[in-house]
Amino acid sequence: MTAARPVIPARPSGPTERVSQARVVRSEWTKLRSLPSTAWSLLVTVVSIVGFGVLYCLLRVARPPDDPAALAAFDPTAVSLTGVQLAAIAVGVLGVLLVAGEYATGLVRTSFTAVPRRLPVLWGKAIVFALTTLAVCLPGTLVAFLAGQSILSEKRLDIALGHPGVARAVVGSALYLAAVGLLGLGLGALLRSTAGAVAALLGLLFGPQLLVGLLPGSWSDQLYRYLPVPAGAAVANVQPDPVILSPWTGFGLFCLYTGLVLALAAWRLARGDA
């Protein structure tokens, strides 16, 4: 600083420099791209989808179903998409980090000073993150399916993408991952702490099944289909299963749960102290 007086150049007045949702989306896209942890988490997600799918297919080829009943129950689509449940954890935790990380670093105060109405920040993050996970996971599930089927074809256990319900399962799995990501994001915004939100996410994904398992059989069969993961995963179901909701109904229910968490987060964000 050798200048006699610091010069912060003035700018021509900009009446157009208003905050808008579209601009906040652009800003959130910059934020998402510029953190190395985003790329790493998404890489882990894809590796989980493809890697575990391939691994499980190899396992099933090594020990193929031997009797007709087992062969009838064999679901090649589900086998090749096994990795999705694991990838859901990576995507969900990344969703938590996107918001809770801002609270942990204090960045959220800067963000809300730039966007004082706050909610556009939440919606901006949700839009950018959902589209990004979809863009990454859709090729992921497709590759996992194709690689898996080529492995299964060795024992003629494979199924074609054109078979009824199969394409829906492949696309639906990617949609499910995007929804889990939004669930994590909503929990991060609602609880504002990384540890708390990750615990809540894992609890919501795995806890209800454990609790329902403790109930009498007739009750647990009735309730099971409405739990978050069984409902959401129904979108990838190819073989009709009476215990599970129909694919889109189940996925719709999962989206409803996610929407509820996001709505609670929005409510807390809009009224409380930042």
């Binding site: 600083m1 420099e17 800003s27 910059t30 510029s34 953190l35 190395p36 000073t113 102290d273």
Partner: protein, 307 residues
């Protein structure tokens, strides 16, 4: 222009900010002074709409901050230097902020250059020194070329050169007709930077006055005089309006008279003076006295008596 009316914030039983009413005017640097924990940061967060007041209201440039459509044009704020994601580069941090208001990339380059971060803008902000972090925060505050600038403890942890830089920056911004509101817990620092001071203690307003007036009021001048006959001089000077006390080395400390008056009186009485100096009580001491008074009037957790 920042206008607070009866601004109050309560956290549970703790009254962090208690009925603050003040106005911060454009064109001068206004210092916001108080000991740590006095409620300065809470007040600034309420100004920026981050915390909701329990009672009262505050407007920036005529409106509650949250109602401004182009907030970065109205207010630039530095809340604390670490309100940045450590893994993101300084440039991307500023870029993402600029994008919320459609501020072009060229402006980001401009402020990065102006605060002297051009060489390190592409590096992780987490690796920045405290001083670089402060410069990044100031770059963020100036992105929108705002009419009002709010900085919370901007000189904290800065070296002498950094402090001088901020001081002249703030003066320059005020001279351009902007409203500049800067907090600090150091009165000596504020005395050199601010033309107007708002002093709070325990969340309550203690003083709201020009810096010079406040210093004169808080730290009245004392004349130190050493002479060949201190006993006689003490008797000569003492009056209901003048206090004379002895300093350890045989000098007298006289308050209530100027150096001219002491010198003339001694000359008239034929007393030889060996030393005659005007002394200002330490600003820091005066400030501590001022805020301690405010604290003494109230028991913890109770609503205090207006001092």
């Amino acid at each position: 222009m920042i206008e607070a009316h009866g601004l109050t914030k309560r956290y549970g039983d703790e009254l962090a900010v208690d009925d603050l009413t003040f106005t911060v005017r454009p064109g001068v640097v206004t210092g916001f002074l108080g000991p740590n924990g006095a409620g300065k940061s809470t007040t600034m967060r309420m100004i920026l709409g981050l915390d909701a007041p329990t009672r009262g209201s505050v407007t920036v440039n005529g409106r509650p901050y949250r109602e401004h459509a182009a907030p970065l044009r109205e207010v630039g704020a530095l809340l604390d230097a670490r309100s940045v994601h450590p893994a993101r580069s300084a440039y991307n941090h500023l870029r993402s902020l600029a994008q919320t208001s459609g501020i072009p990339r060229s402006r980001v380059d401009e402020v990065v250059e102006a605060v002297g971060l051009a060489g390190v803008a592409r590096k992780r902000a987490g690796g920045f020194s405290l001083g670089m972090g402060q410069r990044l925060g100031i770059a963020a505050a100036l992105l929108g070329d705002p009419r009002t600038v709010i900085l919370d403890e901007p000189v904290n942890g800065l070296d002498t050169e950094g402090i001088r830089w901020i001081r002249s920056l703030l003066r320059g911004l005020a001279a351009e007709g902007r409203t500049i509101f800067v907090s600090s817990h150091l009165m000596s620092e504020m005395a050199m930077t601010a033309q107007h001071l708002i002093v709070i203690g325990r969340g309550r307003l203690i003083a709201d006055a020009g810096t010079e007036e406040l210093i004169a009021r808080a730290a009245p001048g004392v004349v130190r005089v050493r002479s060949t006959d201190p006993e006689a001089l003490a008797v000569l000077l003492r009056s209901p309006d003048v206090a004379v006390s002895r300093a350890g080395d045989g000098a007298l400390a006289v308050s209530g008279l100027s150096t001219d008056e002491v010198g003339r009186a001694a000359g008239a009485a034929g007393i030889t003076l060996l030393e005659l100096t005007a002394q200002q009580a330490s600003l820091e001491e005066a400030f501590v006295d001022m805020t301690r008074d405010a604290v003494e009037f109230r028991a913890p957790g109770q609503k205090g008596v207006q001092s």
